[in-house]
């Protein structure tokens, strides 16, 4: 593991404290605080939520309730690259399922296991990304790829893996 990885948690914790301070540790700002924390950690770890509850003086059950209420928040770890596959009607008709299967197979993921153990990829389905003209659509982080084939999708993933390799080594 790299030196950066060893102390990653420490950097994140510094950032978390800065976020709490930025919002004045004000319990009424819970939602923007959670948003900012999710940007930093890419998900909301339970321990972090417990700490937020402590720092804001709010019951942990309430923080958990807010974090699970909004679809925007995720409590499970997510990869650096979030691949969202549209399974809306248009994409479904244009064969989005084989793409999903190809990606999951390449990355060793299933419907339940959405994130790779190295936290590089998360594969999820969404219903309609609003780009039906480009169906089938795959979105990697914020980049939209239209009229994708299973081979094309896997190639995109290989590209990322090749790019990330030196950093991970």
């Amino acid at each position: 593991m790299s030196a950066a990885a060893t102390i990653k948690g420490s950097r994140q914790f510094d950032a978390a404290c800065a976020i709490l301070d930025r919002f004045g540790r004000n319990p009424t700002r819970l939602i923007p605080i959670l948003q900012a924390l999710q940007e930093e950690y890419r998900y909301l770890p339970g321990e972090l939520l417990a700490y937020v509850a402590t720092a804001l003086g709010v019951p942990p059950a309430r923080v958990y309730g807010v974090a699970t209420f909004y679809a925007h928040f995720t409590l499970a770890p997510r990869g650096k690259y979030v691949i969202r596959l549209c399974d809306g009607t248009a994409c479904h008709v244009k064969n989005s399922i084989p793409i999903l299967e190809a990606l999951r197979q390449r990355l060793g993921l299933t419907a339940e296991r959405k994130t790779t153990p190295d936290l590089l990829f998360t594969v999820e389905t969404v219903s309609c990304l609003g780009a039906c003209g480009l169906a089938p659509v795959v979105v990697i982080n914020d980049q939209v790829h239209g009229q994708v084939t299973p081979e094309h999708a896997v190639a995109l993933v290989e590209e990322i893996i090749a790019r990330e390799k030196p950093a991970a080594a």
């Binding site: 948690g9 914790f13 019951p59 309430r62």
Partner: protein, 679 residues
């Protein structure tokens, strides 16, 4: 033209189902409608709680406004309100039907069925078919709490429990989570109630309209012991039980059932039935003596009572700084437990291992208390089981005993002889009244007349009483509901609290309003139970604990001096700070890879947080990084080392250091690293 007759100002009225109804300052239309004699159905309305407006059952039609939830409408003169249109009936019925569809439908085996609001409303509204089916897979039962069982499949999401825990107890151990069809009411992180900061008061179960939260039954092990010929089963009954048990068995709230209760329990097979009010008398003496001793030793500021286990648990979880102010007295229940183990085997001629001791309590937190480690010796708990009033009533019914026809029988001596003061323990203010009666006698050298100080009389959540004896002024505060208690804690911390003794009860109205009592029961029922106890106390031949000859004898023959070493061993206890959330892995900060790395964790629990543990953690992380030690440590922010009164707490390879700073922690880590490398 001049009018010679001055008309009286008209009382404002509105029209309800075509009849005129006077407005009398009701907070909402629902209250007015109920006052007018119409029992509009609701799940989520409780006069003790805030208005939530979620169950959509209290719907009414208001002319010009359409259909509205009456709990959220302020009554106004001139409104034309209907509660019974075909539309309203249909909506209500559909709402119930939808709830039933997603509700576990095992009513015959549900412990709540006799008092279930959902079942009652389904019957009342004539729901005879359920056209929808559940889509959610069943959720597992939550069996982590020693006091309560949560069955999420029976929850109708009314939020009553959430609001009670948050608004009245100031805890918020359970809350809404998720959304849409996945919405649920759960403790933090979907853990069990026994793994979060719940104090086991059970008030959530009391207000729950269904069986989604229930007291955890211990009927089975008690039946088993009763039917075992080798066992001698004895019981203690708490004061509040006797004035509520009858409610389930056809009697009015507040009716004193002591005599029939002991008759019924003997029929169930209990060898002896004793009175917890006896050990309440003992508590009064120990607690008053403790206070007077502390005062003489110059201990300034208030002492808190310790007979409510939910309050004790709250203090351990959230008020570690005030633990030294908590009386060291065990509760009457546990004093009885200790005495029973100590005295009864010889008195009854039973081998100690064959003596089974059961308590009958109005309370779910007592189940938790009886299981605390300090109340067990050589693996055997002082109290083998704790039954709630509900459970005992259920056992009496199950045995087919016709309660109302029983001829009363006395309780068993010597633990039957009790003063009126001891009986009052069951109602808010009762402990204070009892302490005052004892202290007045003691401070006046026995010269003070046997007065009633009225401490147990009011119904407000916070009250106080001041008494001066021999120029010594005693000021007592009484409070129920833990949010109200938190207000007093603030004053104590700020040094503005002038009470000598503060009585805290978690449940509304004190133990009479406990969650183990028959349900449903609102404030009126609780008040009638308290009244029943006051009557019983007034009729008791002994006034205060000091008048109880059996207590005097117990001290002479067995306990020695009040507060003396023997009394201390049997009747007092110790407290410890406890973590709010169950064990967790902690938040990782530094993740070193060396084989012999040192494991360090800094507590981020509430109390340590307030003492600046965040600074310690960040300072330590920074120092370790700067010194190039990152690969040789594993540093986490952890949740509570249960040293909250001595924080910030830091553990290094399992060893805890109190009052830690970043520098101290670094020194310890470096020392541990030196050991690890054999330097």
């Amino acid at each position: 033209m001049q009018n010679t007759v001055t008309s009286k100002p008209a009382v404002p009225v509105l029209t309800l189902n075509g009849r005129s109804v006077e407005l009398g300052g009701e907070r909402n239309l629902l209250e007015l409608i109920r006052k007018a004699g119409i029992d509009l159905p609701t799940f989520c309305y409780h006069s003790e709680l805030s208005v939530y407006g979620a169950c959509r059952l209290c719907l009414v039609e208001i002319e010009g406004r359409g259909i509205q939830a009456s709990c959220a409408v302020t009554p106004e003169a001139g409104l034309k309100v209907r509660t019974d249109t075909a539309d309203l009936r249909e909506i209500r019925r559909t709402n119930i039907e939808l709830l039933l569809a997603s509700h576990h439908q095992g009513c015959t085996t549900c412990g709540k069925s006799a008092a279930c609001r959902l079942l009652e409303l389904a019957r009342r509204l004539g729901v005879d078919t359920v056209r929808f089916t559940a889509r959610r897979p069943p959720a597992p039962l939550d069996l982590t709490s020693p006091a309560l069982v949560r069955d999420p499949n029976k929850c109708v999401l009314c939020g009553d429990c959430v609001r009670f825990c948050h608004e009245i107890q100031g805890i918020g151990a359970i809350d809404f989570a998720h959304r849409g069809s996945a919405a649920a009411v759960v403790p933090a992180f979907n853990r069990g109630l026994g793994e979060v900061e719940c104090v086991h008061c059970g008030q959530c179960a009391r207000v729950c309209p269904t069986g989604a939260i229930m007291p955890r039954s211990e009927e089975e092990p008690v039946w088993k012991a009763l039917q075992d010929p080798g066992k001698t089963v004895v019981a203690q009954i708490a004061p509040a039980v006797r004035v509520a048990l009858g409610e389930t068995l056809g009697l009015a709230p507040g009716e004193d059932t002591t005599g029939r209760l002991s008759a019924a329990m003997r029929r169930l097979g209990f060898a002896k039935v004793y009175d917890t009010a006896f050990t309440a008398d003992l508590t009064v003496i120990e607690e008053a003596e403790e206070y007077l001793r502390r005062r003489a030793a110059g201990f300034a500021g208030p002492m808190f009572t310790s007979c409510c286990p939910a309050w004790v648990r709250y203090s351990e979880l959230a008020a570690s700084d005030l633990l030294p102010r908590l009386s060291s007295c065990r509760s009457p229940q546990q004093m009885f437990g200790a005495l029973a183990r100590d005295l009864l085997p010889k008195q009854l001629g039973v081998a100690p291992e064959n003596l089974v001791v059961v308590s009958i309590m109005p309370c779910t937190a007592k189940k938790y208390e009886a299981g605390r480690a300090e109340f067990a010796h050589n693996g055997r708990r002082d109290l083998d089981a704790v039954l709630t009033t509900q459970e005992l009533a259920h056992m009496i019914q199950g045995a087919g005993v016709r309660f109302s026809e029983l001829v009363p029988e006395p309780l068993d001596m010597p633990f039957a002889c009790t003063s009126g003061a001891g009986l009052l323990f069951g109602a808010s203010g009762g402990v204070s009244e009892a302490v005052l009666r004892y202290a007045a006698a003691k401070l006046s050298g026995g010269a003070a007349p046997a007065a009633n100080y009225g401490a147990a009389d009011g119904t407000a959540a916070r009250r106080e009483v001041t008494v001066t004896v021999n120029e010594i002024r005693l000021r007592l505060g009484m409070v129920y509901g833990l949010r109200e208690a938190q207000e007093i804690l603030k004053e104590v911390r700020a040094g503005t609290c002038e009470y000598d003794l503060i009585e805290v009860m978690a449940c509304p109205g004190g133990c009479v309003g406990g969650a183990g009592q028959p349900v449903p029961a609102g404030p009126e029922t609780t008040a009638r139970r308290a009244c029943g106890l006051r009557h019983a106390a007034a009729a008791a031949p002994l006034h205060g604990a000091q008048d109880n000859p059996f207590i005097t004898k117990l001290y002479q023959e067995h306990l020695g001096e009040p507060g003396g070493p023997r009394a201390h061993k049997l009747l007092h206890t110790k407290y410890q700070t406890r973590r709010r959330l169950g064990k967790s892995d902690g938040l990782p900060l530094i993740h070193g890879q060396d084989v012999g790395r040192v494991k360090v964790s800094v507590c981020l629990g509430t109390s340590c947080h307030l003492r600046g543990s965040q600074k310690v953690l960040r300072g330590l992380a920074k120092a370790l990084e700067e010194r190039g030690l990152a690969e040789r440590v594993e540093l986490t922010g952890a949740f509570c080392h249960e040293r909250c009164d001595r924080g910030p707490a830091v553990t290094v390879n399992g060893q805890v250091f109190d009052h830690c700073t970043a520098e101290l922690a670094l020194a310890q880590v470096e020392a541990a690293l030196a050991v690890a490398t054999g330097a």
